[in-house]
Amino acid sequence: MAVIAYQLVIMQMLSVSQWHHFAYMVISMAMLGFGAAGTFLALFREPLKRHFENVLPVLYFLSGISMALAVRMVGIFGDFDTFLLFFDRSQIGLMIFSYLAWCLPFFFAGLAITLVFYYQVGQIGSHYFFNLAGSALGALVIIVLFWIMKLEYIPPLLALLPMVSAWMVRIRTGRFAMVIAAGLIIPLIGFIYPASPQISEYKALNSSLQLPDARITYERSSPYGLLQVVSAPAQRFAPALSLQYRGEPPVRDILFNNGEYFGTLLGRYEDPGDNASTDSGDHILDYTTRGLPYAVRAPESVLVLRAGTGNDVSHALHHGISAVTAVEPHRQANRLLEFIHPEWIDSLYNQPEVSLYGNNVRTWMAGHHDVRKDLIILPVLGAFGGTSGIYALQEHYHLTLEAFREYRDRLTDTGMIAVTVWADYPPKASLKLLATWRSLLDEQDVTDPENFIMAVRNWGTITFLMSRTPFTAYERESTRAFCLERSFDPLILSDIRPDERDYYNLAEDRSFFNHVDSLLHGDAEVFNRDYIFDVSPATDNRPFFSHFLTLQSIPELREQYDDHELPYMELGFILAAVTLIQIVLASVFLIILPLFRVGWKGTRRRWTFLYFAGIGIGFMFFEMVLIQKLVLYLGQPVYATASVLAALLMSSGAGSYYSSGLPADRRTLIRTGSVIILLIAVYAALMMPLLEMSMSWPLLVKIGNVLVLLAPPAFFMGMMFPFGLRRLSGSNDTQIPWACGVDSCLSVSATALATMIALESGFGVVMAIAALAYAFTTFAALRIGGEA
């Protein structure tokens, strides 16, 4: 129970201190710890067996101690920072050290569990059941702990569980009891002086905290992340403000989630009107490109997606909108702003005109088929100055082609979708958005997309509008007037003149305009193929809107940017590649190389390798895809991870247990393998459509659905590993440690590899490889081990 819970708590801690992309690394850490434990057992079987009763409590004890200590150990030699990884080489050492330090609790716990299985074979059934039931329980209990405790208190609490186990199986001598009692001091210190995650210097929270007299005025943790409010007298809200604005931008507190900007607590903004050149009555956002939709039309109903702290709600209310619907998946933030501190945003979410929903965007859409809105506003994409591609691995299901299709279906006849993008160079996000919209309009057989899309830009942002019906000449003139007043430039209008595109905001590289025109008027597919970055639309199969770098483009980019700079083009992607190398090397060094000491004897080794390699890759690829896909269904990565882990552990454990009653002959293996391949194919095609039918159901019911739906494939997958081991059990006994080693090594590596392949080719390909891997396993079943 503690092990799975610990895995999820590290995931949360790394999301707070760094970024979410370490999630798969944490899964690999746990796998590596267990894999290395298996190898260790193979090497030291005899001494461990001789001292089983002494070793077991020590391992539990060490597991508990390392759980409490790892959080502190990772900072001993300095704090690892993702942003410095490609700048300061000592960071590579820090990353590897942190990785190995986090692995320690898994190693000790893994060794203890494997030892019990190995030496108490007679009670394997009950041991296995309790192990899996505990693991599944751990995945669910941690979600509750996230709600009720601060993150930093959870590791010392979890550390107590293995220490209790150590106490239960302790050697009956006073000395060891004293050691355990003394060891309790370490978790106790963890409670008194908790080790909070050190937030990266390069996260937005730290920029705010550097302002004079800045302070954190509120802090609360939940499964959705760590919410913090920063108050500072010099913290102003004026994103990409018009240079014609002559007032003073409002000073406001900012809400951060996991150290990243979540929203400014703007509330109902009233222009102070103390400056003659500012039109009294305008909202501050009317002086940004975000004012465009209200300058073009007068919507009566507005849907704000991922509403955050309600800045767009405030804007809509300011324009007298009588029906504002806000959808924000961060329920903890909603509760805070709606019930606990509504005064922070002038009770915006409690206004009679406003309806707030705490749903994932796609979930809300699925439950509101009949709703029609005049204006749908999406959150601002990117950040001022760029994000260095840190979000490349994040699934953005609200920005896929399928999502925009749903938004378009929810528009009234004169409805519009509005998206604002921070300017980036080289241009990527704006072009990807445009490519997505072009695809959408192509689907509707629209031959004149420039009549349905308009955009304006200023020095920092571009706001795009897509209308259900063509924009009129009057609306185009209103846009021009809006631009003239604010010193903005039109970017897309059906009757645009080349000279009006950069009158106020000159672009040195005008090729951006050509790119925009190519996407609007030309062959979008040809453009997507020829552009150096991947700006093809994100889809539910490949929902990585912020991933633009392709492996093919790296050599070309290296010619233009130096090697120091290149990683900062898309840090998330490069980091995935670097961690893949690290994970592969760690698993080879810690799992495979030590096995050469015992040697690999026996016949048909290639078949053994193929069989277990297939299981390692197939199972983990399947698991990784499920976690990423179910973020769409369950809304939060932590819910998706916990549910998938619980479902797979429970059902594969049950399958494994059930397999002991079946003969491990070739026929059974081939039948089981074939069922798995078939199930992967069926799930790849039907799982999401099936789940989409229950998309709008309550979260707990959806978690239940996941547990039930994943049971069949996991059940059969759980049978293949013990079948394989039983096939080998009659042969030379060095085959078994190698089989476990190969499985562990490839499972560990597959976590990172699956992420890379999903980025490049989508989930469909990862699923196909998972099926292929099981096909190899099934094929190898023909030859593995002795005759049945």
Binding site: P233, A234, G247, F384, G385, Y504, D530, L551, A577
Partner: protein
Amino acid sequence: MLTDSYFSSILLPVFILLLILLFTVPAVPPAFAETGSDDEEDQRYQRLREQMVNRQIIARGVEDRPTVNAMRSVPRHKFVQSGERRRAYMDSPLPIGYGQTISQPFIVAYMTQLINPEPGMKVLEIGTGSGYQAAVLAEITDQVFTIEIVEELGEWGRQNLRNAGYDKVQVKRADGYYGWEEHAPFDAIVVTAAADHIPPPLVEQLRDGGLMVIPVGSPFRTQNLMLVEKRGEDIRTRNLMPVRFVPFTREDE
């Protein structure tokens, strides 16, 4: 898509090798080592500075004489953290703590050149940081004013400027948003610590015909620069790309 995947699978190992190479190529010029007397050290820094100016600045098209001379004169190694001194003349930004960086030498030179610096010009800098940009400006004009909002950085920047002999630079620890009204109007404003908006008071404090330059970009990347030109009520911006100008679409073969 299938072809892409195959292509990727071939390129992946190549890419991994490239990354390994990236980490193994020496980051510090081998000619430099942190040993020797003060004089020898000064000479070594002088040599590195000369190399920096020739290879990173003149070779990339910064030819404004006062700017080039200033870059030759300012001891950049006195404006970085002690642990980063050996990297002071490298072609990259360097961290100075507080999530901030000192811009790469080329960007400092390019920004300086953009405001057409001349002796007697009144220049305001927003974001003192390490003080390096202010020092470069001070080599050209005596009227340099610099404001830093982060107290610790402001103090460190002030010390660096004093230690390097730039006593005339006026340093203030304050919110740069309001500019420095007593000394306004300014011929140029250099914003080295950009926020997500351009403060209206800074636009006000720019004299008619004045220029404001602002770097835009995330840490450790060559920034784009934004030039704000004020002509009466007409305020325009120009987005400038200091890196080599390249088409991002591939030519049809």
